[in-house]
């Protein structure tokens, strides 16, 4: 079997010095595939996503995170990014004073050798393609990173960055939340544009709706800090129709397990 995959092995993790959130997550996303991750509020999806990206506010207690067979646990967030990982944040932050264009130039150059910086023409061509793919106005790239952006614009910016940075693996944390159908299609098109044999993605969502446009190869369900069920794309439809209780019951989990710390 090929090593080209994103893999989570028995991951236990907590908020640094605090409560344990992940209690043994196992998950594999092979390169070339798109998997969906669903689950109730507070089940640990974003925590998992941020842990994969190396968020220092969480602590790994046990288990491993691997990119193409190599553990990335000891890598800093920037090293993981340069190893090919990309996280589209559920709540992207605002960074004043840096334009999207300048920021992406820095991000691209970080992936290249010193002295081999991306050329101006090449860079803008890339940026323009991405802006077009997202059906966006070009002036957006001169705006400061998320300053004054609407929720939907932030999500779109996360996908724009994905298209420019061309990661090997992407985690999209609710990139569809708060979008109307038109915007949703645009974002889905963006992700689909990135699809290919050398790209794998984990798409976190609450809504089957998105999965009509980004058809997943598999669906995983997370609850109380673990992946409790995996199945084909039809699983998402079941969840959409029936909710999570039947699946929780099947695994003997109470709903309170997810919502506790959330309340």
């Amino acid at each position: 079997m090929s090593d080209n995959r994103l893999e989570i092995r028995n991951l236990h993790a907590r908020i640094a010095g605090g409560e344990t959130i992940l209690k043994g997550v196992d998950l594999i996303v092979p390169s070339g595939e798109v998997h969906a991750l669903m689950g109730p509020n507070g089940s640990g999806k974003s925590t998992l996503a941020k842990l994969m990206a190396g968020d220092p506010s969480y602590e790994v207690l046990d288990g491993d995170i691997l990119i193409d067979g190599e553990s990335v646990l000891e890598l800093e967030p920037d090293e993981r990014a340069r190893a090919g990982l990309y996280l589209a944040f559920q709540y992207p932050v605002e960074v004043p004073g840096v334009s999207i264009a300048n920021f992406l130039r820095l991000a691209l150059n970080a992936r290249r050798e010193e002295g081999d910086e991306v050329g101006v023409m090449e860079f803008y061509a890339k940026l323009q393609r991405a802006v077009k793919a997202l059906d966006w106005d070009e002036s957006i790239i001169e705006r400061n990173l998320h300053e004054g952006f609407s929720g939907g614009e932030k999500k779109r910016s996360e996908v724009l960055q994905l298209l420019v940075l061309e990661p090997r693996y992407a985690i999209l944390d609710e990139s569809d939340s708060g979008l109307d159908v038109d915007a949703l299609k645009v974002v889905a098109n963006g992700v689909n544009a990135a699809r290919g044999p050398n790209f794998g993605a984990l798409v976190i969502t609450h809504y089957q709706r998105l999965l009509n446009y980004i058809v997943p190869d598999m669906v995983h369900v997370m609850s109380s800090g673990r992946v409790i069920e995996s199945g084909p794309k039809e699983l998402a439809m079941d969840l959409d129709a029936k909710g999570y209780d039947w699946i929780r019951e099947k695994h003997g989990i109470t709903a309170s397990g997810d919502a506790v710390a959330h309340a």
């Binding site: 190396g54 920037d78 932050v93 004073g97 920021f103 820095l106």
Partner: protein
């Protein structure tokens, strides 16, 4: 805390020798002697002095320093020469150790005077006499270092813009040095009714290998409806300690946009005091500093609303790292009768490590009842979520830090309306941050 002295190097004899050497008119000699008496009668500041609280006073010591009476040589460094070539200024002067060592002028408008103070005293004595010491003088509680400057300054610049004249491009002076000691420079800017000008004071030198304490005083007189953009850019080498006082009087409807930048030196104190004396006058006061490697920056500001319907808006922001420190202390004073005052004061500090410290002391003294005033300050570390976000895109930690510092200072930078100044400040900040390839271009 150590008590400060001047170590008996500065004496009445030294002052008399200076007066004799400069050969100035009697009225000026009398002013110098009066200032000298004030200097002697005024104790050095202590930590108990409200205006100097938390200041590392010993870093501003002057004891044992000889007066700088001339530069070692009159050459202009390549760096300054390049900055002049690169500037869009209509006039620049270079003052070094009290000597005027270079002047480039393309002044087109009649009546505009832009020259060094010694020349101005010769060619325009009446004008200088009318305004020199009119804003910072021995009579109104002249402070220790400002009194010292008033007695011992050797040269400086004089800018005079007659009424209704608008000078399009900036004027500026480079204040530089090639030796240690105690130096004093003075700037006098007079903008008459409805006239307009932009003027920059820039302080810079190559490493000296000995300690220089530079005192500077800038007096600004704005007539009715006059407009001035004033920039004070301190980028001395690390041998230098700067004590600078900038004080302005604004008449009716006058507007002052000031920017005070501290990037160089070992320690620097900037006092920026604006007196809004005419109704409808406006003062924007921006400040920017970035302290590293133990630098100590100290700023004291006054927004004095002496008249009604005046507006002042102050924003000082600074970043600190490597066991550096900064003190910001500022007061909004609203006189009785200064109704409809609109005054804001904000100081923000970004701490890049745990060893650096910033103290912020905003104050209000309001004696009128129909006013809008607000002040605020924040001091804190780099937001970790922002740092993580940037790094999650592949930015190395040091690059992420550059972005965060630039982003923090952006609130001030975006309000600087002089592109060349903004560009230069940005480059110096980047060089201090260690952004590759920037230092070479300075």
């Amino acid at each position: 805390m150590a008590t400060l002295t001047d170590g008996a190097v500065l004496t009445a004899e030294a002052l008399e020798a200076l007066i004799a050497r400069l050969g100035e008119p009697d009225w000026l000699a009398a002013e110098r002697r009066a200032a000298w008496r004030t200097y002697q009668a005024t104790p050095f500041p202590t930590g108990r002095d409200e205006r100097w609280r938390y200041t590392q006073l010993n870093r501003f010591a002057i004891d044992g320093l000889e007066l700088v009476d001339a530069p070692r040589d009159t050459g202009v460094s390549d760096r300054i020469a390049m900055r002049i070539t690169d500037s869009d200024a209509e006039g620049t002067l270079v003052l070094k150790g009290g000597e005027l060592v270079r002047e480039d002028r393309r002044l087109k408008q009649a009546g505009v005077i832009f020259t060094d103070l010694r020349t101005a005293l010769r060619d325009h004595e009446d004008l200088v006499r009318k305004h020199l010491y009119s804003v910072v003088n021995a009579g109104d509680g002249l402070r220790k270092y400002a009194a010292l400057n008033a007695a011992l300054w050797t040269n400086g610049t004089f800018v005079y813009v007659p009424k209704d004249v608008e000078v399009e491009l900036p004027l500026g002076a480079f204040h530089t040095a090639d030796r240690g000691g105690l130096a004093g420079g003075r700037t006098l800017i007079v903008v008459e009714r409805n006239a307009k000008v932009t003027y920059l004071d820039e302080f810079t030198c190559e490493p000296l290998g000995e300690r220089l304490v530079n005192t500077g005083v800038t007096e600004i007189v704005l007539g009715d409806g006059a407009k001035l953009r004033y920039v004070s850019l301190q980028n001395w080498s690390r041998d230098v300690v700067q004590l600078n006082t900038i004080r302005a009087h604004l008449a009716r409807d006058a507007r002052l946009e000031s920017l005070t930048v501290s990037l160089g030196g070992d320690a620097a104190r900037a006092e920026v005091e604006v007196s809004l004396q005419g109704p409808g006058s406006e003062s924007e006061m921006l400040g920017l500093y970035f302290a590293d490697e133990g630098q100590h920056y100290n700023q004291y500001t006054v927004q004095h609303h002496a008249s009604h319907h005046a507006h002042s808006d102050l924003l000082f922001k600074g970043a600190l790292r490597d066991a550096s420190s900064a003190v910001y202390s500022g007061v909004i004073v609203v006189d009785p009768g200064a109704q409809k005052t609109d005054a804001y004061q904000t100081n923000r500090n970004l701490l890049l490590d745990g060893e650096s410290e910033a103290v912020s002391i905003p104050q209000l003294e309001i004696k009128a009842n129909d006013v809008k005033c607000s002040h605020g300050s924040t001091t804190g570390p780099v937001p970790e979520d922002q740092r993580f976000y940037l790094m999650s895109r592949g930015l190395r930690p040091e690059v992420a830090e550059h972005v965060l510092v630039t982003g923090f200072l952006y609130e001030v930078m975006s309000r600087v309306t002089l592109p060349k100044v903004a560009q230069y400040v940005e480059r110096v900040v980047q060089a201090k941050l260690g952004v590759p390839g920037v230092k070479e271009k300075l």
